[in-house]
Symmetry: D2
Subunit: 302 residues, 4 copies
């Protein structure tokens, strides 16, 4: 069932807040998100900056110890102007290079929905006005964290959060561990385009139309967000340094291959050793994101 | 000019050793490499284990402060049996998962050159006997390090080394900073197939036929290995943690885009912010490898 | 003025919760804390495990942008039995050593308040029954975090938190940045004795009698917890890896030396370069703690 | 037996070089070291900068698999002028603070051997001319590394190297794993005074008179440098990030307590959990140093 939600309240943390709407297992939430500075589809600021979130949605039947599955049915920009920062974050370059870096400012991009492109409008640089293919993705997706915590939308953990992974696109399905009754699903921080790592601290920030179909998987505990696309299964680990994020993602994949694909650690290691792919999500936040992926054709083979 | 070298001496470090052959700018070196345990094409152990290297090759005209360009013309397995380890390295998973891990052993793979495949022969696991597409790559490539150091083939630094990056394939061209007269080029550690990170500590280890064409770029200083494929330019950073490897790779890309593509830090940041791709090379060694890439079509555009 | 508070409610996170008591600038809070598993002075479990906190205390006059100063007047065990874990955390040793480690269990210690000692009661090991000098300290001290977050008592950040630093002892004074009206001060997790790093995941865990005198410093913004003992000034940085915690602590010290001691970055660097001391706080939590210290006699000299 | 060596040749790496002198088990080597820029006791530059080393000394009887014990009998400045850098290394502060940092330059210090003090001569800063107590220590101490490597004096590893730990002082004894016949002992990089971490990239750099008594411990393998002072036993771990250096040092201490003090991992954990002390050595080099210490009085008790 399609459940429309027109948000009027936004949170800047993933936390155990009062839900904005209750939905049933199998429902599709049809809603909108603001850009990272709180601007809506009309360009009006309606919430404080810092990745204001739409939600939380209470999913009936979800209990701690369950898993919440979220299929991204739609995630597309809903206005024609987006923005980015203009200088790579200081911690993403060598410390010795930092003194050579210019002052950060804002760049403006025009979104052409018909041609599915984003074109740099300003500032004027040697780059000119490049036009990029849209690749819309959700920077923030997740549930209320464990232990009654409220965790800023500036970072991420087991519950998901601000992972800024290019793989959170329409057509993919993601699972999150449930820590609170109803799971309390949030989303936001849409990017029209974004490079790996979100290294300038933004993608092309813009408001979105979003549709998410939720499903409760009872009595299934997972440790970290898990996803599936047409081609891959994926596990996201969130921590700093990247080494630890990679440990989390890899361990979660080993657990998944064991329980759902019958591959013990040795079999899974032999497979991953030759076929694993790692993607780098956010390297701008306090917690960084690494995604461990395996092509599904190898799993059919197994 | 093609210059054949049949190796009889191998080093287990990148160092300022006496060259095995001198070549001219533009020459193509035609040679072979051993597998990581010192076995040659006939399966005979002819050097001590630990990625024994072929070389060093003295490139006439290369001086400290220059850059050595190396085009990989050929890098293919030259026997029909390869091997891998069977368990992911303990530092690649969560410390709490380590007690669940089995003992490491060796797996054997059959290489079918005609069909360009590798098939798992043993051990017997739930995985059965999967067949993978060959994707041959050089685990070790680089020159003598700076400061008269001799750095083990178990690790990597500015000079290249054991980076285990899937992108060191035939058809790509790589540049290395020259620290010693003649540059002193080495290669080895061929893998028939390998996942990102070389997380079991091996790819499918096998001896290779290798052809490398060298060129000296005078008076050009680079900081880290730089590469070019049909589609991308790439910079490799080597360090631990991954965060620092990523800093090195990103900074090197910024320097490259400034000097060769006319993009100052702001222009380059705007481009990389939306379009950068990061690949993860070795995460098994003391030093880890991150590769910063940008699709060349964006550079044409600029 | 002495303000007694007998706690009946405990939180397992530092967050923007309703205060348990309001106090005035200059008041001394006289209260008790539970041990890490929620046991009180009588050994009864009265709150869920995981460092339950006493507080929050609302300090009248404290506003975001101010600094809250907390003098620890008393922090002493109030019962005669404490406990520790028995095995070093897996992430504190080399991954290759983990398979050699035994199962973790609990150790029991007898506290002798008269002699100011702790004696190991069980388990039986080759260690026998060593007697250690008490060195009571507060594992958790801090205020409500920024951005309305609720951050678990299992970790730490700018607001303080679970830092497990041996320097949080009676006679020292600590300052915290104020993010919420009233600052919302919390404390807990007393340790009778603890080694650097809290590497077994506990000190000798025990309930405490605590007295804290609070003072509001108006319109003074600090970035991280700052402290002063009879001999040193100290800054705590909380992050992972330790390298980043050390960066935070060092930067905070540079800012402090600039604003309060008239030492610009060069003068401060010359001094710290020869005289800085670093202590390692918690290395068990998600966030680690490093303390940057300088002996006050050098500051007199300056 | 006292064996005097007047150096005429210096190396900028720890490597398998031809020895400058052979000594017997039990001999005391009496020699001198240059400062980090190659200046000798008379202030003359006699070797290239970058911590030129005195040695290597071939210790008769030392074979791979043995341990070399080195007692520091004397390590004292032998001229009256030392120097430091003036700005904390950029990677030791928050990346956001780097743009506020001034240009680095050199500071000059006068050494008064009679009063055992160092006084800042220049530059002029708000610091004035502070006088510090001498605390002379050896920045570089170690042997030829494993695997025929030659490792720069700018860093450290299992063989020791440039650890810049304040504990390498006269009266302490240090053990190193032997990787080459004769062990090949080197030393250099004396500091008249130095803060934890060598955070400005130098201590007070100065030439030294050094006396080292060597002893071969046959058939004893250690993993990392181990030391003993009047009060503590100590293990040094060298790696980046600090977390990994701490893992190495802690694991080495666990191995030592097991083999030499009869404490299994549980007993050792209980002891270290309450009594371990960590010191931070070099945080300026590619590899960082952490020292794990335990007061010897606890070992008597055990």
């Amino acid at each position: 069932m399609r459940r429309e939600h027109q948000p009027t309240l936004y949170y800047n943390a993933f936390g155990p807040y009062a839900p904005v709407m209750s939905v049933e297992d199998g429902d599709t939430i049809v809603t909108t998100t603001l850009d990272a500075r709180g601007k809506d589809a009309s360009g009006e600021v309606v919430a404080p900056r810092g990745n204001p979130l739409t939600g939380p949605f209470y999913v009936n039947g979800a209990e701690p110890g369950d898993t919440l599955e979220v299929r991204i049915d739609k995630a597309t920009p809903n206005r024609d102007e987006g923005w980015t920062r203009t200088v790579i974050a200081k911690h993403v370059v060598d410390p010795s290079f930092v003194p050579e870096m210019p002052q950060d400012r804002l760049a403006s991009w025009r979104i052409d929905d018909t041609r599915s492109t984003a074109t740099l409008v300003s500032p004027e640089t040697a780059l000119g006005h490049p036009t990029l293919q849209l690749a819309p993705m959700l920077g923030c997706l997740g549930v209320a964290p464990k232990g009654k915590q409220a965790i800023s939308t500036a970072t991420s953990a087991e519950h998901g959060g601000n992972m800024d992974y290019r793989g959170f696109v329409a057509g993919t399905t993601w699972c999150f561990p449930v820590f609170e009754p109803g799971a309390l699903l949030f989303t936001g921080d849409g990017h029209a385009v974004q490079g790996d790592g979100e290294i300038v601290g933004t993608g092309i920030e813009i408001s979105f139309d979003v549709e998410l179909t939720v499903r409760v998987i009872k009595a299934k505990e997972i440790g970290w967000p898990r996803g599936e696309s047409a081609t891959h299964i994926m596990c996201a680990g969130n921590a700093r340094p990247l080494d630890q994020a990679l440990q989390h993602a890899t361990t979660e994949m080993l657990r998944w291959l064991a329980t759902d694909y019958g591959l013990d650690t040795e079999a899974a290691s032999i497979l991953l050793g030759q076929c694993v792919e790692y993607d780098i999500g956010n390297v701008f936040d306090p917690a960084f994101t690494v995604v461990c992926k395996i092509d599904k054709r190898y799993l059919v083979q197994a």
